[in-house]
């Protein structure tokens, strides 16, 4: 599943990153590496972007800019 499939309050984990674009590189540098756990804190009023909590801070991402990320749910 991808970030677009997540709902508010869900916890997840990055399983795999396909692709090697600059966007992906930057997302990794922001701490979103394989194995990173996160929680969806909020989804913006118009459905995009989403706010996640990772590595102790809050980051907002657009769904379509994280297409190359594969994530899975984690029981929190």
């Amino acid at each position: 599943m991808t970030f677009a499939d997540l709902r508010k309050g869900m916890s997840g984990k990055v399983v795999r990153i396909t692709g090697n674009s600059d966007d992906v590189m930057r997302l990794q540098e922001m701490g979103l590496t394989v194995g990173t756990q996160f929680k969806v804190v909020k989804i913006a009023p118009f459905g995009d972007p989403i706010e996640i909590d990772l590595r102790g801070y809050r980051l907002c991402l657009r769904k379509h800019e994280t297409r190359e990320y594969e994530v899975e749910l984690v029981q929190s």
Binding site: D22, D23, M25, R26, L27, Q28, E29, M30, G31, T33, V34, G35, T36, V41, K42, A44, P45, F46, G47, D48, P49, E51, R55, G56, Y57, R58, L59, C60, L61, R62, E65
Partner: protein, 731 residues
């Protein structure tokens, strides 16, 4: 560029340049408290300029010690030494000492947010490898404590390999310690060194090789196997020759290693974050169990709520807009009145030399006043931006708005520049700095002046009052005013779309927005931001504006001679024997303008504006309003024979516009002509201050020229369109 040539360049330069000050660079992630720390270190001893050739602002200041003075430079915030934005590229250049106009820093003060240590440590791993002496300033320790956590400073310092000083920037706590530490570290620099190991994938291979060897009875450590892969010792080679079945996996691992090492000899992102997580675990102690809901969570529940969040947002933006639009007005009127008063006071003293009188009063005093009048709006807007940004709300607002602005190629941060541009494009364009992505920023700057600013209002009020209200009533007058304000916004959407697809090159950055915890605004940062924004505007845009005002003055003044003036007077008196002195003076003014360079130019290009239904008088008024569109009102006053003491409410000007005719006796202005002229002014770029600001913010005349061209063409075509519709339907 390979690192070696860079280093050679630095060395080459250091030899030729005389270095007087030591240079301290303050580096760190955005939101780490870097600017607050820089402000408390340097106070108002700051210089704001531009890095040559780029749009990134250079902020530096001085720090005084007993023995020496050092230069401190506020490096733009960055997340990584692999830059993606122009800001980050400049930041990396400054750190490496290759940015134009700066030397290699003698010390990096790395600002780290104690409450967001893991992410901040990622940048540190890269800085530590850059070979610079580093001193860490740990900010937000007060917030950390409030959240029931604390950091083992000694342990952190040991793990990082450099000194760590905790500071609370805005309260100046720890500031003396930091200054002492800077002095000490400049004296005896500490170069942090640590081993991150190789990228993960290779380490896994090494571990599996080691396991295989162990099964064959050879006990080697990971480090020994790693060494064995890179530079095998004789002992190791001897061991390998005894086990031919190991040859293949070793060769394979070696090939993989060479390949990976040649493409990136450094540890990968994952490895760095593993190290960062390890450090954080080792130094962070939770003294109290963490609260389930922090203050930030509670505020966010309201402020980014899908209904209340939007209501609060609209309310706040209304407050900002009203402040720029309404509250600035009395101050602006005051400034205008003040410069008028100066003009009137100075004027009689120069009456003996009419050319000097006109130059000083109309050119110089008018020009300076016309520039300073924007200052209240700039200061008010930057007050709000500094407060909203400092509290963390700006990021939330961008989060809320991103979807609405994102689909045509902008992003959530564009709302502040665009909204402010409805009051005045100048602060709007300056505030596009809140957008780190250069492509979106440029697109925002280029469409910001399409928003209908307060300077268009006099033009609308004059023409609506003269042609719409008398004929169609108050409702349609109000509707026209609204439609004029809406027009720019509607036009901006396809323009942004085209700009992003066809004109602006380069890749758009992903919209990555950090949502920092809420905090109270730091008032010193707010005042300093207002002060430096105002200063930058007056210094750079101001000089251009005053220069251009003088130029337009000269074009509308010359050529002029006493003989010509006497001739105009004589011919006027013949046809109007009972004319008063004032009427004669007005007529002479009108004739002088008609025969000036500007007037002749207006007549020359009248054919171009004919399809829009404008005659040479309207054309000349448009030309003379190049410095500022609102000056079209006094210009029309002069041209339509009323002297320049008119404003948009003056009944005489409305009357004389309504009565003016083409040479063949048709009325010059119809309702359509008025709408055409309003549409022209709604879309044109007739504002020198805006163009000067665009030049300053994009650091090139190219974009200012581009903006002027596309907006003028657009305005012209729209005005022609209106007139052609009139010909089609109304006659």
């Amino acid at each position: 560029m390979p690192a070696q040539t860079r280093n050679e360049r630095i060395r080459g330069r250091a030899g030729s340049e005389l270095k007087t000050h030591k240079l301290v660079a303050v580096v760190g992630n955005p939101n780490a408290g870097k600017t607050t720390l820089f402000n408390s270190l340097t106070g108002s001893y700051q210089k704001v300029g531009n890095y040559p050739g780029v749009t990134v602002e250079k902020v530096s200041g001085t720090l005084r010690f007993a023995e020496e003075t050092v230069e401190v430079i506020d490096v733009p915030g960055l997340y990584s030494l692999a830059p993606v934005s122009e800001d980050e590229r400049v930041a990396v250049d400054v750190i490496e000492g290759v940015a134009k106009g700066t030397s290699k820093p003698d010390l990096l003060v790395c600002v780290m947010d104690a409450d967001n240590l893991e992410r901040n440590l990622y940048l540190y791993t890269q800085l530590a490898e850059s070979g610079h002496p580093i001193l860490v300033a740990l900010t937000m320790v007060d917030r950390l404590k409030k959240n029931g956590k604390q950091i083992d400073l000694v342990r952190l310092s040991n793990l990082l390999g450099c000194e760590v000083v905790p500071v609370v920037g805005h309260k100046s706590r720890g500031l003396t310690d930091l200054k002492e530490a800077i002095e000490r570290n400049l004296e005896m620099p500490k170069h942090p060194r640590f081993e991150l190991g190789l990228p993960d994938a290779i380490e896994t291979r090494i571990a599996s090789l080691r396991e295989r060897m162990a099964r064959l009875g050879a006990d080697f450590s990971n480090a020994e196997v790693r060494e064995g892969l890179l530079e095998p010792s004789k002992n190791f080679q001897k061991f390998l020759s005894d086990f031919p079945e190991l040859e293949e996996p070793f060769e394979e691992a070696r090939a993989h290693l060479t390949e990976r090492v040649s493409e990136s000899p450094k540890a990968d992102v994952g490895t760095r974050y593993q190290w960062a997580a390890m450090v954080q675990r080792a130094v962070l102690q939770e003294t109290v169990a963490p609260k389930k809901r922090t203050i930030t969570d509670r505020l966010d529940a309201l402020l980014v709520h899908r209904v209340f969040g939007l209501i609060v947002f609209v309310g706040l933006m209304y407050l900002v807009f009203q402040s720029i639009y309404t509250f600035a007005q009395p101050v602006m009127n005051g400034i205008e009145a003040f410069f008028n008063l100066i003009g009137k006071t100075v004027s009689p003293h120069l009456a003996g030399v009419p050319i000097l009188q006109s130059l000083v009063v109309d050119g110089l005093i008018g020009g300076v006043g016309g520039m300073l009048v924007f200052l209240p709006q700039i200061l008010i807007l930057f007050f709000f931006i500094a407060v909203l940004e400092g509290t963390g709300y700006l990021a939330r607002a961008a989060f809320l708005m991103d979807r609405l602005l994102g689909w045509c190629g902008l992003n959530g941060r564009a709302f502040i520049p665009l909204l402010s541009s409805f009051a005045c494009a100048i602060p709007g364009i300056m505030s596009a700095r809140v957008m780190p992505d250069p492509k979106s920023r440029l697109a925002t700057i280029l469409v910001a002046p399409l928003m209908s600013c307060s300077a268009r209002l006099p033009v609308y009020l004059l023409l609506i009052g003269a042609f719409i209200q008398p004929k169609f009533g108050a409702f349609w007058a109000g509707f026209t005013l609204f439609a004029m304000h809406f027009l720019g916004l509607i036009v901006a959407v396809p323009i942004v779309y085209i700009l992003n697809r066809k004109i602006l090159r380069g890749k758009r950055l992903p919209f990555l927005l950090e949502l920092p915890p809420y905090q109270l605004p730091k008032w010193r940062d707010v005042w300093l931001a207002m002060y430096f924004r105002g200063k930058v505007f007056v210094k750079t845009a101001g000089t251009i504006i005053v220069f251009m005002s003088m130029l337009i003055w000269a074009l509308s003044y010359f050529p002029r001679s006493n003989e010509a003036a006497q001739q105009y007077t004589a011919s006027f008196v013949v046809s109007n024997p009972s004319a008063t002195k004032d009427e004669i003076a007005k007529y002479v003014d009108e004739e002088q303008l008609a025969h000036s360079f500007l007037g002749s130019f207006g007549k020359t290009i009248e054919p171009i504006f004919r399809p829009a239904g404008f005659d040479w008088r309207i054309t000349t008024a448009i030309l003379s309003a190049f410095p500022a569109r609102e000056t079209v009102v006094p210009s029309l006053g002069i041209i339509f024979n009323l002297g320049n003491d008119v404003n948009e409410g003056s009944a005489d000007l409305r009357k004389s516009l309504a009565q003016s005719k083409w040479p063949d006796g048709r009325p010059l202005f119809t309702g359509w002509t008025a709408i055409g002229l309003m549409v022209f002014f709604a879309l044109c770029a007739q504002c020198m201050a805006t163009l000067a600001t665009v030049k300053r913010e994009t650091n090139s005349w190219k974009w200012a020229a581009f903006m002027f061209t596309y907006m003028t063409v657009l305005a012209y075509l729209a005005a022609v369109g209106v007139h052609q519709l009139e010909l089609l339907f109304a006659r």
